[in-house]
Amino acid sequence: MARGTGTVDTVPQTAGTPPGGADDVSADGPPPQQLRNTYTWARALRRDWRLYTFLILPVAYLIIFRYVPMAGNIVAFRRFRPGSSMFGDEWVGFYYIEMFISDPKFWDVFLNTIVLGTLTLVVVFPLPIVLALMLNELRSRRFKKIAQTITYLPHFMSIVIVAGFVYQLTALNGTVNQVITAVGADPVSFMQRDDWFRTIYVTSEIWQVVGFGTILYLAALTTIDDQLYEAARIDGANRWQQTWHITLPGIRPTIVVLLILNIGTFMAVGFEKVLLLYNPLTYASGDVIATYIYRVALNSGSFSYGAAIGLFEALIGLTLVLSANAIAKRTVGASLW
């Protein structure tokens, strides 16, 4: 069998020989090299039709539930009336685009989105790195394992549960206010105060994502060669210098890739969590683009207007991830693709 594998592997994959042998080892054997250019769809279908049957449902699924909605953004340029098709009734050009550009409410939520996104990126993103480095300094495997198990747990909680925790802890009779009254200050009705919304949002985000976020950094840390530390120690580097000159450069590619991914989702700030945590009293700082779209479209029924804002948001997100990737590629040589 080993010999067989060897010969198969030497044939270029584009020539059409299934590396796995698949279904046709018995059918018609590897095609001669010169036939590469004539390897047509007819031939491909004849030899691999069973594999293609595996693709029928998933591809149909992707088209209907992923690509049709993308095309559905056309409704941003067409008027939608109840009962009309999902693509709207008649062309109205940039009517809805102009509408949101001149909508002061839109710019409020746009600003809120940027502030909340930036806060999340600046505060939450570096913490898993710090936590991973701290876990990395432990010498007791048992302690490390327990700490990992505990800190990963919040990741598996539904956002509804996280919101529930927030309500419980910040309630007037909750733990946070008990601490505040214990030190002699007045209790704060956190959920009704718009100046507290961002703090609460970011804190709950830290609680939920930081632990699980260490996994990829810890994985990167295991790939750093122990001999590097050995050598540094012999050269007289202390622990701090070892961390700075060996550990951090070792996980830099991981940091960059995760940063790109985070920038890409920057505009999509935890929409579901905001929806659960905000209320009309905290709209001033809590309302973000996604929640505004939700209210405009689903509560007020202005679907075309909602779609126009959604399209704008998606395009910004796409631009962000593409440019972050390009910058990372040019400056540090690490990128997503």
């Binding site: 080993a2 390897y39 595996f54």
Partner: protein, 307 residues
């Protein structure tokens, strides 16, 4: 034997420091501080759960007075019994189970078959189909077009609105594809020589030998369906169809006065009742979690290996 762990580093490993190396005094201080901070981090992570249990079993008076933190005060289980005998709660739980099982089954059927086909490097059109998947990672239709599509298909107030639209996660699919690409060729070739078709090879050779990665993917999907609430809020207005997460959300919203959006009556709902419902919702996850944690961890790391 093929396992998920084949390329996954052991992140619970601790660095071995030779005994001959003596820590400097300042580093010893650092290690003590480091360990202390980590203990505090763990405490803060667990505190909401502890507080939840305390509130679930306390009597209402103590909660309102703000005297419940670590331990239950005025021990009471009447609220627990009340919730446990409530039809509405069990309906929600049943729906959550239906959504999780149905959604995961559909998602796994589509994801494994597509991943297997795309793992065959000779397949014509392969890169086109992969591109089709990758695009969905960075661009999606958005709330409004999706909503119009699902309503247009007549999925509103049916279980299909929950279990079909979230079937293929591009991330999970690429992880599985990368796994199948590393599947030993010899096994599949031997089966092909024995006259097995692709179907036979996939269902009788590849899948049984990929149990670890299949388990990981099932868990990823199942947790996502178990925790999901927003699609239910969008598409299921019939309380008989709503999952327990949405039931809980309506409790929270009712308690804070934000419930008008969900169209529910505004009632002040006791923190006690909230706590009991939350507790009953998290219990299954917290109980299963320690045993399946390693699959999630290896799944995340598999995903980081570029496909």
């Amino acid at each position: 034997m093929v396992t998920t762990d084949q390329n996954v580093p052991d992140i619970t490993r601790v660095r071995q420091v030779p005994k001959t190396v003596k820590d400097s005094r300042s580093y010893t201080v650092f290690r003590v501080v480091n360990a202390t901070v980590l203990v505090i981090v763990c405490g803060v992570t667990l505190y909401p759960f502890v507080n939840l249990i305390a509130k679930a079993f306390s009597s209402h008076g103590y909660i309102v007075a703000g005297q419940v933190n670590l331990w239950p005060r005025g021990f009471n289980t009447t609220t627990l019994m009340e919730v446990l005998t409530q039809d509405r709660f069990w309906t929600g739980y049943g729906n959550t189970i239906v959504h999780t099982v149905g959604g995961t089954a559909i998602a796994m059927a589509l994801t494994t078959t597509m991943a297997y086909a795309l793992a065959k490097k000779h397949l014509k059109g392969r890169s086109f189909f992969i591109g089709m998947v990758v695009v969905t990672m960075f661009f999606n239709g958005g709330l409004v077009p999706n909503y119009l599509l699902i309503s247009g298909l007549g999925f509103k107030n049916t279980v299909w609105a929950i279990i079909i639209p979230n079937a293929i996660s591009a991330f999970n699919l690429l992880v599985m594809k990368a796994f199948f690409e590393n599947f030993p060729n010899d096994l599949e070739e031997a089966a092909a020589i024995d006259g097995m078709t692709v179907y036979g090879i996939f269902f009788r050779i590849v899948l049984p030998l990929s149990k670890a990665v299949v388990a990981t993917m099932i868990l990823f999907y199942a947790v996502a369906f178990w925790n999901s609430w927003f699609p239910a809020m969008l598409y299921l207005s019939d309380p008989e169809l709503q999952p327990v997460t949405l039931y809980l959300r309506n409790l929270l919203a009712g308690a804070t006065g934000a419930g008008r959006e969900a169209g529910m009556e505004e009632v002040q709902i006791g923190a006690n009742l909230q706590a009991v419902t939350m507790l009953l919702t998290v219990i299954p996850i917290v109980c299963v979690y320690p045993f399946v944690q390693k699959y999630f961890v290896s799944g995340v790391m598999l995903g980081s290996v570029k496909g």
